[in-house]
Amino acid sequence: MSDSGLKWRIAGGSGDGIDSTSQNFAKALMRSGLYVFTHRHYPSRIRGGHTYVEVRADDEPVKSRGDGFNFLLSLGDSFARSEKEGAVYGKEKLKPLSENLDDLNEGGVIIYDTGLIDEEATEEINLEERAEENDWHVYPIDLRGLAREHGREVMRNTAGIGFTAAMLGIETEPFEKLIGEAMSGDAKDANIEILNIAYEQAQEMETTHDLQVPEGSHDEEMAMMSGSDSISYGALDEGCRFIAGYPMTPWTDVFTIMSQNLPHFGGISEQVEDEIAAASLALGASHAGVKAMSGSSGGGFALMSEPLGLAEMTETPVVLVEAMRAGPSTGLPTKPEQSDLEHVLYTSQGDSCRVVFAPANVREAYDQTRKAFELAYSYNLPAIVVYDQKIQGELRTVPIDFFDREPTEELEGVLTEEELEEAAHDQAGKFQRYRHDVEDGSNPRSIPGQKGGRHLATGNESQAVGHIEEDPDNRKAQMDRRMRKLSSIREDLDSMDSSHQTYHGPADADQGILVWGSQQDTVFEAVDRLNARGEEVKALGVSDLMPYPESDVTAFLESVDDCLVVEMNATGQFRGLTQKELGRFGDKLSSLLKYDGEPFEPGEVVEGFESSVNGGEPPGKNMVIEPAAGD
């Protein structure tokens, strides 16, 4: 798609209600028949600090943030620290305006709240000059004053929405309805009044811009969902009824959604002392016969390393989710990055024997979370869904029918008591839980409390009933058997009707882009634009990271002359994985990397591709190109 449509950004301080206002705005647009996509940017702070949310809306499906944005509603930061306090962060009040100007498109619209941002102060940032240069349309409005007069100061967001709606040609009705759904009494009445007064005032104003919201309609009912929602709903629909966790941004969203819903779904949620405990509880619940999950972000996931290895060795199924954020260490706690790939693939001692998926979007997050549970519980091993702050928070429009699925009711990979009667036992009557001779590598398990199923599950190497065993032949046979699960799973995944890998662009293109996880849809938008400009390029979006989709990627790389690997990290981890798994293509693969805390915009991928292929100017915006081996 082209970079058309509305790209509305609301900016303010943390705690100013930016998030909820943007969600309502996006939802109103969705209800009016548009497709929406949101992008959140926020600091690691509770009150104050510049934050913004972009809402991109169009009459056709939107799958990525756009290039910059074209409408700014700047509220000012009501929690800004005064310069008199010796704040070293500059003029905080002004930041929701000043920090956003660089990304505002030519011809863009600005509304700012003169209640918080002095018109005189805008001289310091040369607003007038810059507006003239860029053909911006600037509307200083006292949103705070209007809100104070008719309600309370915090309702200035509603006033801003009223002005936005009038200036873009959107009816107030969907907004009124949303206010009614969220509030009652005086608060509801005052907000609706403010919305309408703002709307009327804006209509009377003389405006100079042309930007309007496109008209659209949906053939089916739509829902607006985040990746955290769909990971959680996928887990619930697949029969997950236990979660244990410890708060950490950005994983906390999934933990919260699960904790709020599990009791109504008959399940249990546990907030515990640390992430070692969280993962260990998930193993304990799973071993005792419940589909269980845990998760964290980078640092907390590091603490889960040892329980993760225990799950591999004892063959205890579990699903862990890892919400990546920029590292190392605390890094940028609220910003996305794809730098934990090697971490999730290899953390814990010994050879990895786990499933790892990296979904691209809301739909894939739902599907792949379900698949992760299915495989974990069928093959009795851990499965990881790795995502990032981008997938976690971005909202997208999805048809509600997408979620109309049958739940999974059984616990795969276990025997009933009747089946245990027929199963193999040792002379002392212990169940042979870990036999060497299973073709796909996975033995079914028994659950404590079942008659005829007692055995030992141990993190030591063990023989058939779980007794600790250091015999070399047994060791080799058990290792080989456990690793065999990965090849069996790969066969399963390759025979699915719809692959987790996504192809985009003309099949006969001779240039390729390889991308994984959350950046896939952004790259696909860039591919469309590149082809429209006459480039011949196609992309492969990869979600299966372990077991690696060897045949899919090999066929793709064989079909192109060169391939650019796009990822959000500094060392090209996915490119490295690809070369390691395939053992070749080093001279075809170059990298486009970004690790400044902001996800790629489609235009940046276009620019990066052109400069990598055509050797043009090095790309801007903190992007780095690493050439292919030998180049």
Binding site: A244, G266, G267, I276, G289, V290, T416, K451
Partner: protein, 312 residues
């Protein structure tokens, strides 16, 4: 109809039922105190009317962790320090299981100390046996969290500068609702205490003194011991936190002076277990969660019916 018919089955069991076949034979050193834990546990289980397949024994790492190899039941031999989080989740998943966790003093009071504190705080209905030999045995004799101050080892060549952990006091402060100390040298008391601990509806912690004849030769054999319930010096109310705390302090001090005080130190039978608390807040189902997957009558909730509507 239950999918777990071993649970609550009215079967007589004996010590032998909790003994594996010919193998594996315990690999503990001759004279090791760990044998006494195994024996007491095997003796206590038939007394409380449990059979091997309704018992889940979760152990940590170290000589003590081998308990799950030599005790016949469902066993989970986890990682160092993490027996408690595994065990308490199993109890939540299937409350009918008799859940016992066990590990050493390094495992429970050192690396797993955080889990000890929180599992006690939550008062899960389970039994936790700490094999306290005041030493790291399997790694060949390093100073442990309960080694006395001044204890010399290869890793503390000039003698430990640290005061030892006070296991009983720590347990009380953390919230355990049954706290006892026994010793390998006192098998009759050990079995009685284990029986009580298993029957107690809440988190029962037993600091089990297990001599290490190989790596802690200097340590006493935990004899002579004094049963505080039998000694007039300790006339106190085990349901009173303050009185219990005084006696615990005394027992912890005197251990390092050569006097071994054992017995029951604290019991609160009134406090609801974590499972009961969680059910009362509506956050734990009445039916054991593990039964759900085997029960054809369960209506499985769908996100499409319950949740997706909030997003439209």
């Amino acid at each position: 109809m239950t999918a777990f018919s071993a649970i609550g089955a009215d079967v007589e069991s004996s010590k032998d039922d909790f003994t594996p076949g010919v193998e594996p034979q315990p690999t503990w050193c001759p004279g090791c105190g760990d044998f006494a834990v195994l024996k007491a546990l095997k003796g206590a289980m038939p007394e409380v009317g449990r059979s091997p397949e309704e018992v889940m024994l979760v152990t940590g790492i170290g000589c003590s962790g081998k308990l799950s190899s030599y005790f016949e039941s469902y066993g989970y031999h986890a990682i160092h320090g993490r027996s408690l989080p595994v065990a308490r989740a199993a109890k939540l998943a299937n409350p009918g299981l008799e859940v016992v966790a066990a590990g050493g003093d390094g495992d429970g009071y050192g690396i797993g100390g955080n889990h000890f504190m929180h599992t006690a705080r939550e008062n899960h209905d389970m039994t936790y046996i700490v094999f306290n030999n005041e030493i790291f045995g399997l790694t060949k004799g390093q100073t442990s969290p309960t080694s006395p101050k001044g204890h010399k080892s290869k890793t503390q060549p000039s003698g430990s500068a640290k005061d030892p952990v006070r296991p009983l006091t720590l347990s009380l402060a953390s919230g355990a609702s049954y706290i006892a100390r026994t010793a390998a040298t006192n098998p009759r008391q050990a079995q009685e205490i284990l029986k009580e601990a298993i029957e107690h509806d809440g988190f029962a912690h037993i600091d089990f003194l297990t001599q290490c004849p190989t790596w802690n030769k200097d340590a006493k054999e935990y004899v002579p011991y004094t049963d505080i319930q039998q000694d007039d010096e300790f006339d106190f109310d085990i349901t009173d936190r303050r009185e219990a705390a005084d006696v615990m302090l005394e027992a912890e001090n005197r251990l390092y002076e050569g006097e071994v005080l054992t017995g029951r130190f604290y019991q609160d039978s009134e406090r609801p277990s974590y499972g009961e608390e969680k059910r009362s807040t509506g956050e734990m189902p009445e039916q054991p969660l593990a039964e759900r997957y085997f029960d054809d009558d369960v209506e499985w909730e769908r996100s499409a019916d319950e949740l997706v509507g909030r997003h439209t």
